[in-house]
């Protein structure tokens, strides 16, 4: 997924997303830029009913997932009300509008259950 850039520490290998100027673990300052690859393992999620300003939906599913190359990221989950979501399940990641500001789309991660 080229739209997202994560940062792998050249010294200790820790993957950072978003960007840090120094490695969270070893404090070193040089990173290789990498992109999330593969499917996503759902780590945790929530279904939010009281949404902030800017969302017209009745609810949102939001989760944190881990890509096959280790990048962890938050994203919306595209699933109907009552969906049987479980931590550990596999999701597919897409780059799609996640909200609209003054009619203009804001793009981000959308996870979709594979089955």
């Amino acid at each position: 997924m080229e739209q997202i850039t994560a940062y792998k520490c050249k010294k200790c290998g820790r993957i950072h997303y978003p960007k840090h100027e120094r490695c969270l673990t070893c404090k070193q300052r040089e990173f290789d830029e990498i992109h999330p690859e593969g499917d996503v393992k759902l780590l945790t999620y929530t279904q939010i009913f009281n949404l902030p300003w800017g969302f017209d939906e009745r609810f949102l599913y939001i989760g944190v997932g881990q890509f096959e190359n280790g990048v962890k990221a938050m994203g919306q989950i595209d699933a109907p009300d009552g969906a049987d979501l479980q931590p550990g399940m596999t999701l597919k990641a897409e780059w799609r509008p996640v909200r609209y500001v003054f009619g203009e789309p804001v793009y981000g991660l959308k996870f979709k259950p594979l089955s």
């Binding site: 929530t46 279904q47 939010i48 939001i62």
Partner: protein, 395 residues
């Protein structure tokens, strides 16, 4: 460094205060604290506020407050540290007095959140999330807590019954607290057991329900600090000594934590506070923990050392955190019932503990013979945390 004492405290009832501006509320609470201490002038003022610039379109609130109170030419600073602004402001006040630079310091915390819609208030608090990798998705603080709760339940066996028990306890205490936003009593049947409970207590951010969340509130609280060596000269109150404080940070995003259930900043802030106070968790008589969400009362009680990991929820069911229990927690009703005007909360916790340690509360809320108090003010989703250990001094 000098020892620092709290010689005056003040608070106004939290809730919906349409008639008051942000500065009105800060001024009313500050006057109460000044009168309680019996002092007329201060050297410096620290104001805790998170949202004046966003919600009221008002900045430089500390300058406005010293003018309103005619405390000129006292030094004045605004401290914005998200929901931990109150704790941070007190910490800065304590450091200023401890260093010897200032003698008498007013710390006031306040927030006015009810004049905007729930949508706007939720959005305002969510501005503390990461602006690129969290906020755009519509994540809210209840949403963060929902994800945390799912992980905590899975790892430590926390149950919905345990969370409900905290709601019941804290709303019971809130109903006894004239400063609390939520004074309504609730029952287990009404929010859990009844077939209609889902109507009263719908899901808010799964697995959390409405009654797992604190309300959005207006309110303010204030404290007066001075060096311990000047207490007898300045005030007639029993001094409450700031025996220790701690502050620690963690990653901005939840996703970057190696173990998102490990609230490292809570543990570190508490350890620092206990170490500086030369005290241990078992020395504490009463605690005010940052229960913006019921799960946090359990998680914090474990991370600060009141209970082992995985035992905080059981302790709640066994009544160990109730009045008369092993460690009474949130005898004010906590954020859950007193309310959570974000900039005021950390100050309100210290005001409540001061009342407890001065033995001034009615018996239905007073921890008998309380000698030491502890607070956790939890900023962000645990990425900036302030802890205090307070102890009763000699009059």
């Amino acid at each position: 460094m000098r020892d620092v004492a709290i010689i005056g405290v003040g608070m106004i009832p939290f809730g919906r205060r349409d008639e008051d501006t942000l500065v009105d509320m800060l001024a009313y609470a500050s006057l109460k604290a000044l009168d309680d201490a019996g002092v007329e002038a201060v050297d410096a003022v620290y104001v805790a506020n998170m949202g004046g610039g966003i919600l009221q379109h008002q900045t430089a609130v500390a300058s406005a407050l010293v003018d309103r109170l005619s405390l000129l030419p006292a030094a004045a600073d605004l401290v914005e540290n998200g929901p931990a602004s109150g704790g941070s402001a007190i910490k800065n006040g304590v450091l200023a007095v401890a260093s010897g630079y200032y003698d008498v310091v007013l710390v006031a915390g306040g927030e006015k959140m009810r004049e905007v819609s729930g949508w706007r208030a939720t959005d305002f608090v969510a501005t503390l999330t990461h602006p690129e990798v969290e906020y755009p998705y519509g994540i809210t603080l209840p949403g963060m807590a929902g994800m945390f709760t799912q992980l905590y339940m899975e790892k430590y066996g926390v149950t919905r019954e345990m969370l409900v028990e905290i709601s019941l306890k804290n709303q019971h205490m809130g109903a006894l607290n004239p400063y609390a936003h939520v004074e309504m009593l609730i029952t287990r049947e009404g929010i859990l057991d009844s077939p209609h409970a889902v109507v009263n207590n719908p899901p808010a951010a799964t697995p959390l329900h409405l009654y797992d969340l604190c309300p959005v509130s207006d309110g303010a609280a204030a404290v007066i600090l001075c060096p311990l060596e000047r207490v007898k000269e300045l005030s007639k109150n029993v001094p409450v000594i700031v025996a220790g404080f701690g502050q620690a940070t963690d990653t901005h995003t939840l996703a970057e934590r190696d173990d998102p259930t490990d609230l490292k900043a809570v543990t570190l802030a508490a350890q620092q506070a206990f170490e500086r106070a030369k005290m241990k968790p078992e020395d504490i008589s009463v605690a005010e923990l940052h229960d913006a969400f019921t799960i946090l009362e359990i998680a914090e009680s474990e991370h600060v050392g009141f209970f082992k990991k995985g035992e905080g929820g059981k302790a709640v069911l066994e009544g160990k955190t109730r009045l008369g229990g092993q460690i009474p927690i949130n005898m004010s009703g906590g954020l859950k019932a007193r309310g959570h005007p974000v900039g005021a909360t950390g100050v309100a916790q210290v005001v409540e503990l001061t009342w407890q340690l001065r033995h001034e509360l009615p018996k239905e809320r007073q921890v008998k013979g309380a000698k030491a108090g502890f607070s956790i003010n939890f900023g962000g989703f645990g990425n900036n945390v302030v802890a205090f250990v307070l102890k009763r001094g000699e009059k």
